[in-house]
């Protein structure tokens, strides 16, 4: 049936439902259509494929078939055609635990297991409750006792002996655990109507963001003690840790601020009209919505904070990368340092990639309206 006016015309739609005519081909036909659809592309694809296969073959040959996996004799490695993974087996205690006294290394080992275990448990969002927060708080003294000793018959090990993976993990965790609340306070302060608080928070954020991390670390570890009285000597580890926290908080504060400003103004108004106090409005209404908007961006900063721990090696603290470079100083093994570094890079990658994947799945859950 059709209807017309003077110049327009229209026909009533047919009342039928049909399956979609668009057919999604299999992998084979998609590859053929994308890579081998004409002579030019086919030649290019073949050439690139040959190059890739060759590169992969060489890499596998070096890393797997030609590699020496286990020996305590560096001469064996020198004769081999491939990589010398034996250095990892030879030096792993030094790489993982740095200069921590050899016989006491079970203590940092347990500390690492506890931190990683709790991190894995925390990743299950169905387990989120306030007990998890208590568990993290309880973990602090446990790890401190394990690492520092001096009580329960444990030998005292000063922070300058800490190193390797536990140092990296402790610094990263403490940075985030203290830095994130700091960032939230800085962001709220920056949006405050009270001029003094606002100026203070803008000042801290902007000054810290204006400096490279190396400079902040130097100031904390070298310049700050010069201004403080002799009796107030701060431990090098503690001052580096404080510097990392402030640096992380300053960057994350700007992300959090973005999240707070992305919450529609109507949410602020509805919370105000309901008679909630400032603290309740932020805690119950604004922060839960603002933070979830910026979780992917915050995760990016957390991953960066994890990797930024490598900077503490310039203060003479041996994080896992610093410990590795110390471990490869052994003249018998020095030429196999790249293999040791590759091992550590793999460790970094595993940590960072799982954090990144985790934040992806978390963001996906949130966008589907699931709440925690």
């Amino acid at each position: 049936m059709s209807v017309s006016s003077a110049r327009s015309s229209v026909r009533i739609s047919a009342d039928v439902r049909r399956p979609s005519p668009i057919v999604q081909g299999g992998l084979f036909s998609r590859v053929r259509d994308a890579l081998f659809n004409n002579l030019h592309n086919t030649i290019l694809s073949v050439v690139l494929l040959v190059l890739c296969v060759d590169a992969a073959w060489n890499a596998l040959h070096w890393a797997v078939w030609g590699a020496v996996w286990h020996t305590d004799d560096p001469e064996m490695c020198k004769q081999a055609a491939g990589a010398c993974w034996a250095i990892v087996g030879e030096k792993y205690r030094l790489i993982l635990f740095g200069t921590f006294p050899y016989d006491e290394q079970w203590r940092p080992f347990i500390a690492v297991l506890l931190i990683l275990g709790l991190a894995v448990i925390s990743a299950f969002r169905s387990l989120w409750s306030r007990y998890l927060v208590y568990a993290w708080i309880a973990l602090v003294p446990v790890v401190l006792v394990l690492m520092l000793g001096g009580v329960f018959g444990l030998k005292f090990t000063d922070t300058h002996l800490w190193g390797g993976l536990p140092l990296t993990l402790i610094m990263a965790v403490v940075t985030v655990v203290f830095g994130l609340p700091g960032a939230i306070l800085l962001a709220l302060g920056r949006l405050s109507k009270l001029p003094a608080i606002k100026a203070l928070c803008v000042g801290i954020t902007e000054i810290t963001r204006g400096l490279p991390l190396l400079v902040v670390l130097f100031m904390a570890a070298i310049m700050l003690p010069m201004f403080l009285p002799q009796t107030l000597r701060i431990d090098k580890f503690v001052s580096a840790q404080i510097a990392m926290i402030i640096y992380f908080a300053a960057y994350a504060a700007e992300i959090v601020r973005g999240g707070l400003q992305a919450v529609p103004v109507g949410q602020y108004e509805a919370a105000e009209a309901a008679g909630l106090t400032y603290g309740q409005r932020m805690r119950r209404v604004i922060l839960p919505q603002g933070l979830r908007i910026v979780i992917p961006a915050l995760m990016n900063d957390i991953i960066r904070a994890f990797k930024n721990t490598t900077f503490v090696s310039i203060l003479g603290l041996y994080d896992i990368l610093g410990a590795t470079s110390a471990a490869t100083q052994d003249p018998k093994w020095v030429q196999f340092a790249p293999e040791a570094y590759l091992f550590v890079f793999m460790l970094y990658f595993v940590f960072c990639f799982s954090m990144s994947k985790y934040s992806e799945s978390f963001a996906r859950d949130l966008s589907q309206g699931r709440n925690y």
Binding site: P264, A274, G275, L276, Q289, G369, N371
Partner: protein, 254 residues
């Protein structure tokens, strides 16, 4: 003028006296005087930009007034935070933009203020919330998120949210303007029921049918002033000012 004057007795639940407000140099509210008696329904209408929303947003201080007094249940609206929190407990508000808390379920939206502001025990608040949801026909939606509801359902939840702390007066800021025409009706129905129960309401709206049905007084605003006020029959049949006549002919002939 002032808190002690005779006509600001407990009769008026909301009283605006000589209220003026500016946005920069723009004089947004000009000499507003309005006393709302307990149990009465006031409908505020007028062209956009006439100051209707600004006026009711001053009552719970989402906007600040610069001159004059606003008295809610004997308390003056000012910067004093404890008084303001008390006033906001007594004044419920429904927004044009609905503004349900997107991260909370319907039930949590309802119980947030009662639990944290009024200190009502959770189970009591939930029970009350359930009974109100039932009345607006949304009992089965209590554990959904606002994003899973239609606009009309969301606005009905928002009305229930405003009712949860048993307010002495309800403010409606164009509650149906952002809704699809098909959903306006279900929201108005709830509002009419509330009006018939004797809830004190100040309603900014363009729904003249609603005004005709429930208003005790229609207040017409233009350019920041109250230009005319009359009971609905008088206002709709014989508006006194040219501006009101023009406004009515516009909205009726569209």
């Amino acid at each position: 003028m002032g808190i002690g004057s005779p006509d600001s007795s407990q009769e008026s639940i909301v009283k605006l006296e000589g209220v003026n407000k500016w946005y920069g140099d723009f004089h947004a509210l000009r000499d507003i005087n309005l006393a709302v008696a307990r149990g009465e329904r006031i409908v505020v209408c007028g062209p956009s930009g006439s100051g209707k929303s600004t006026m009711i947003r001053c009552i719970n201080r989402l906007e600040e007034h610069h001159e004059g007094h606003i008295i809610v249940d004997g308390m003056e609206v000012s910067d004093d935070i404890p008084t303001l929190e008390q006033i906001r407990r007594d004044v419920g508000m429904v927004f044009q933009g609905i503004n349900l808390f997107q991260h909370l379920t319907v039930m949590d939206n309802l119980t947030l203020a009662p639990i944290y502001v009024n200190g009502t025990p959770k189970h009591e608040a939930e029970e009350y919330g359930r009974s109100l949801l039932e009345r607006v026909g949304l009992a089965d939606q209590a554990y959904k998120y606002p994003g899973q509801l239609s606009g009309g359902q969301q606005q009905r939840v928002a009305i229930v949210r405003a009712l949860m702390s048993r307010p002495k007066v309800l403010l409606f800021d164009e509650p149906t303007s952002a809704l699809d025409p098909e959903m306006v009706h279900e929201v108005l129905k709830v509002m009419v029921e509330l009006a018939q129960e004797g809830v004190t309401m100040i309603v900014v709206t363009h729904e003249m049918g609603f005004a005709r049905k429930v208003a005790d007084l229609v207040v017409f605003m233009d350019e920041g002033r109250i230009v005319e006020a009359a009971p609905p029959e008088a206002f709709f049949s014989s508006p006194q000012s040219d501006r009101a006549r023009q406004f009515l002919s516009q909205i009726i002939s569209h």
